[in-house]
Amino acid sequence: MNQHIVKAYDEELETLHRLIHQMGELTLEQIQKAMDSLVGRDEKLAHGVIEHDYEINHLETRIDELSIRILALRQPVASDLRTVVAALKIANQVERIADYASNIAKRTLMLTDYPPSLLMEDLSSLVKKPTEMLKKALLAFATYDVNLALRVWHMDREVDEQYNAYLLQLFDIMIASPQNISPSTHLLFAAKNIERIGDQSSNIAEAVYTMVMGKPFKESELS
């Protein structure tokens, strides 16, 4: 796309993209660390994740402020307007994803009281797809790639399937022994948070779709 006649306007939109990128990178790191803490039973790491959540909240606030500033001072239209609106939505969705990472870290702190189990390790396979979705959704935003956004959106079904399969296993061991119920409940919440990362990433993909196409995302319109 051509550059704006007013250079500061270009710089502001670039800053918006940079802040979203930064927020995304930090959030991906938080997810990774939360999972490592859970599987590695590392309380210190878990505390670190919980403590660093504020950084992401802070980035969201900065994105909100900058977006509102651009809306007020530049009165963006067309693709610029759609970019700012998408940035506002995406910052909110990434912030929620970071909350999920921090929730997972909180489960780590509760699970260290219980013996390790294979199901804990399975969570690190479960998180792969949602993490990939988030990475790709953010790349789709950075590159205005609507096809990539659609691919992300389609991946969410696979995440749901994996999540349901995992739940069945959890139920099996809960039924097998009442002692398993407490730790399994924590795993269940952790799994739910992982599944929500997929949902939110697919919302980001929808926001990218709307940004590029200029119309709301509708499942019925997908071919």
Binding site: M1, N2, Q3, H4, I5, V77, A78, G214
Partner: protein
Amino acid sequence: MNMTSKIDIKHLNLFYGDKQALFNVSLKIPAFQTTALIGPSGCGKSSFLRCLNRMNDIVPHARMEGKVLLDREDIYAPSVDVVELRTRVGMVFQKPNPFPRSIYENVAYGPRIHALFKRKSELDEIVEVSLKRAALWEEIKDRLHQPATRLSGGQQQRLCIARAIAVNPEVILMDEPCSALDPIATAKVEELIDELREKFTLIIVTHNLQQAARVSQQTAFFHSGYLVETGETGALFTMPQDEKTQGYITGRYG
């Protein structure tokens, strides 16, 4: 969308001598809506506007091809009375241009020369209704016989709108009507434009893109004498279809 076109412009070309100013422009102007014409300086907006009430007739060397249909009738047909046409299609200019007479006489002028009334009381009523429709009445009703030139710029522009309304036109053309006004006076004129839509069809040329977005229902983007894109205003400002439109409205290099 089922809308009647008040004006239907077909394959319009305009030349000033050898120089072509408009190229094959076709556009439908919906009735009782405001259409905004936007585009860089010199792209032909004013020239286009002048074709709609035959103001180019008096421009030397100007030559037009194509058709302009007002209620499906060709305004360039030999049988058309140009003076009557200009009462049906009125015009408001960039700079407020009241006559150096009283407020009353400014509004009464059109009805007088077109003999639109029988009794003085009818003329008084036309003046009052026009000033009310132009949202000026309350401000000046006690000083109708003072010179119009004593009004503020914004009031003068609304007076010019009242003057255009007084002859009961069907269409009002406005060429950058707010470019000489401050933001408050501009807001008043914009509010007025929105109200006038009930009774008139409006076409406004504006350099202020936000103004086009605020006041119009249809926007037409001109570039170098070509009509590049026309669309519902909300759609054009959120998802323009043409690269040139996108570049212009977002303030990018073409």
